[in-house]
Amino acid sequence: MTQHSAWRGPALAAAFPLLALVAWHLATSGRAYSLIPPPYEVGLELWDLAFGGIYDDAFSETLQTHALASMSRAYGGFALAAAVALPLGMLIGRVEVIRTMLDPTLQLLRPVPVTAWLPLAMIVFGLGPRSAFFLVFLGAFYPVLINTIFGVRSVEPRLFEAAAMLGLSPSASFTKVVLPASLPSIFTGLRLGLGLSWVVIVVGEMTGVQTGLGAIIMEARQLSRTDIVICGMAVIGVLGFASDKLIMLLGQWLLRWSPQHG
């Protein structure tokens, strides 16, 4: 290991966005008809969205409401996806009859993008949060499902032999061998699913909901308020990044035994 200052990593990681910010500033600042607002205007708008006191328009001080609405949909849709995909994936992975019955259908439905489900979702669930919730659920569902199936199917046969010769009953092997052995894949699925639930949040909130970061992005777009669009993007990025960090910390603790994670 070479010696590096503790600041080297963060400094390198910050250098690129700072450069991008400078380039953005140089390209947009002082031009009267720029369609993209310069960074400091976006910064001001972000402050106004969060705390008000600058423009005091219809958007002022609404950021928290929108962020909370999006978070509840992203986490709620993700939680529901995990609650369905985890047990279903374990069944498909371990029970041959269920695999033969469900796997082809699921594989067929999987390539259909979440965006394509939008019109149907709005017919079935109506305009509003239930459709948004369903679309986020759909986005998070497949990565959790696919990785769970993969995890429970790819347990090393040797571990079943070891458990059997140590006297573990076959009925206990699911909780004592299959589950812990597949935890790394399951965790990968959960992480991807949570990430995707943030990715699809904008599509989910195109269903006519009043609040949510996706909703204000769509509304601001119609009003040509590109500064608000960029603010919404930035907040989604930060929230998605933060929730990924959280789930990574959880994973590092749960998978501290795994050389690839711990």
Binding site: L159, A162, V177, A181, W257, P259, G262
Partner: protein, 256 residues
């Protein structure tokens, strides 16, 4: 070939044949094997690959069933794997999500022993294999030799009467291998174990075994059963050792 003995054998392999289906053909992995092992014996199975030594071991373990013949432990047919026959694999087969101590306590816990007793057993066997400092380490943090010590300890902690070992030291470096051979002999003597040990290394077989069972491929079969009477620890440079090495080499080469 076999010593005739009045003592009831702990393991009795009677006319065992194993056939596999392979690409629409039937391959005989083991033909008509007979082997009696008494309690406390250390028996090595030796032979080139394809001689059926691992197949025989896996049938005794209960991982495979015989196509013909009987496999008996204490006169009862072997039916599937069980804690009375502990297996030590070449690739360790440790549970990566469990610490050293919990790996060792896996068997007793799986068999429903009370937690306090399991913890005491873990402690005792962690000490026995000299891994006290690593009791809370995970398998990926251990060297190969340490992993194999855990694999041996978990079988002993489970009160296995017969220890089946499938080339357990084959993946280790020479120095670690020698040390583990010596430790295994110590444990075997102290615990009065019965060991069935598969290897392809002649020297390892002579260092360890009371009896060396020589096997040959095409089809797999037992061709000789040699008793080794050299007192332990055995010196690989002694004339008796060399004489045995030559004899086993020629048996393995088929000049018998």
């Amino acid at each position: 070939m076999n010593r005739t003995s009045m003592v009831e054998p702990i393991l009795d392999v009677k006319n065992v044949t194993k056939r596999f289906a392979f690409n629409n053909e039937t391959v005989t992995a083991l033909a008509n094997a007979n082997l009696r092992i008494e309690k406390g014996e250390f028996v090595c199975l030796i032979g080139p690959s394809g001689c059926g030594k691992s197949t025989l071991l896996r049938m005794v373990a209960g991982f495979e069933t015989a196509s013909e013949g009987d496999l008996l432990m204490w006169a009862k047919p072997v039916q599937g794997p069980g804690p009375d026959r502990g297996m030590v694999f070449q690739d360790y087969g440790l549970f990566p999500w469990l610490t050293v101590a919990r790996n060792i306590g896996f068997g007793p816990a799986a068999r429903g022993r009370p937690t306090r007793e399991v913890r005491a057993t873990e402690k005792r066997f962690v000490e026995m294999v000299g891994l006290t400092r690593f009791a809370d380490a995970y398998p990926h943090q251990l060297s190969g030799g340490m992993k194999q010590r855990v694999a041996i300890a978990r079988v002993l902690a489970n009160e296995a009467e017969v220890v089946l070992m499938d080339e357990p030291f084959g993946a280790l470096d020479a120095m670690t291998r020698e040390r583990l051979q010596a430790e295994l002999l110590e444990i075997w003597e102290a615990q009065k174990l019965t060991v069935l040990f598969v290897t392809h290394a002649i020297e390892e077989a002579i260092v360890l075994a009371d009896r060396v069972v020589v096997m040959s491929p095409g089809p797999g079969r037992i061709v000789a059963d040699e008793r080794i009477d050299i007192p332990r620890p055995r010196d690989p440079t002694s004339p008796e050792f060399n004489a045995l090495r030559r004899r086993l080499s020629s048996l393995l080469a088929g000049h018998h």
